[in-house]
């Protein structure tokens, strides 16, 4: 079975300078460890809030390391140094506005300031890039809410077939997609 390569990119001036410990990547790894049943591995990066560095990192993870899913954490707010969405859109071939809308809706259930987040979802080549919040609690809430649609998205752009533990995250695929797969493997 083909393995999924997940790029995990923590974007923070202070964490990348060692001023404080990065909590984004451990939060992401914990979620995937609990949720994924099919094989996966990660490529991780800890970088500052510099748009050219973020762009280069996303391109390298997808074009060189073959990541089919890249999750960023941090840098999506309104402050001058927050440039993660700008970098993501700059390297994207398609933007999927539903991810940003849904991530803000989910976070609005917890904090009114979720409205300030500029998170986006986007496609580059055969990879899906998602900007997640910086806090481990918000990372988990967001992935719980949006991940059910991610495996079918990866199917549509030509990536590996992702399976999850239903008790953690119940994946949704349209009946037509399930029928086509069951026919192909019969």
């Amino acid at each position: 079975m083909e393995s999924l390569t997940i790029g995990l990119v923590s974007i923070s001036d202070r964490a990348s300078a060692g001023v404080y410990e990065d909590k984004g990547i451990p939060g992401l790894v914990a979620w995937f460890t609990a949720a994924l049943k099919s094989p996966w591995r990660t490529e991780t990066r800890l970088i500052p809030d510099e748009q050219p560095v973020i762009e280069r990192t996303l391109i390298e993870l997808i074009d060189t390391f073959g990541c089919e899913l890249v999750l960023t954490t941090g840098g999506t707010g309104p402050a001058r140094r927050d440039v993660t969405p700008e970098a993501t859109v700059a390297v994207a071939h398609k933007v999927l506005p539903g991810f940003g809308e849904q991530m803000r809706q989910l976070s609005l259930q917890y904090v009114p300031t979720a409205i300030l987040s500029r998170q986006v979802g986007a496609i580059r080549g055969r990879a899906l890039i998602l900007n997640l919040p910086g806090q481990p609690k918000a990372i988990k809430e967001t992935l719980d809410g949006i991940f059910p649609a991610v495996p079918y998205c990866i199917d549509l752009i030509g990536g590996p077939y992702i399976e999850t533990h239903d008790s953690v995250c119940k994946v949704f695929r349209p009946k037509s997609a399930l029928a086509a797969r069951s026919k192909a493997s019969a």
Copy 2:
């Protein structure tokens, strides 16, 4: 009473090549036949997922055939061949983000993968263009949800006055718009 010209564009490599039967246009015609009380006619097109072809078709339907409303079906997903939103935005004078947001919200009530749709609504000249999903069931659900706001939009951009059967679709216009019309016809 001025007639509404509706452009119906089904966008699909396989349906346009005759590999399978198009179900989008019959679904759209069925909905309008049940819903519209004021006079209307259609211009229909069945074309492949090619951005230049989609752009030319939208421009021709609006600039040459005088459509005041154009509905597309298909081609709004994340796959490489899905380019309907790109073509729509390329020929648009204004994008109306509320339509895309609301169409995704409506579809999310049925399937979590609605988040993957990149549907947009846009204005070109005196016409409103709306990207709808490809499945007849999803077309009906979407039009039931958004059409109440469409006639007032067509009013604002200078098109004909649309009336519907309330039992199928209850149109909304602000009181100020209704008062101005009743005064004009008095």
Copy 3:
């Protein structure tokens, strides 16, 4: 305590020509008079729906008069003369899509035609620009809904610390932001 300078811009061909009385700016002033506890003052402008005039006005209010918050009213619909969002995006350094999404969601509770609004929120330098609807009732409903997130946004872009009367509008700031401030003032 540093005072907040609020730019209030009413955008309407007819109101700016004196054909009818502007109700947008009085509606905005009434809301802020009731809501704000910390010091504030306004710069007001009444201008036509001309994109270059709107852009110049926004730039002048922010770059010359030092407004940290600019609210526009009017010009966000689908009609040809509605160009407020285009002007806002043209002068913006960052767009905050959550504001537009949330403002449409709030208005959809009252009228289905809220879907037609193209309102945006955006950052220019150290200022937040928000496009509000034109009607005083809709202005109040929108500010009631979104203002709780505005003071923290102004904090993040380097503006003055805004305090409100909780009975009118309960501001939200993350605990980390409140802890940092209480430490700084200790």
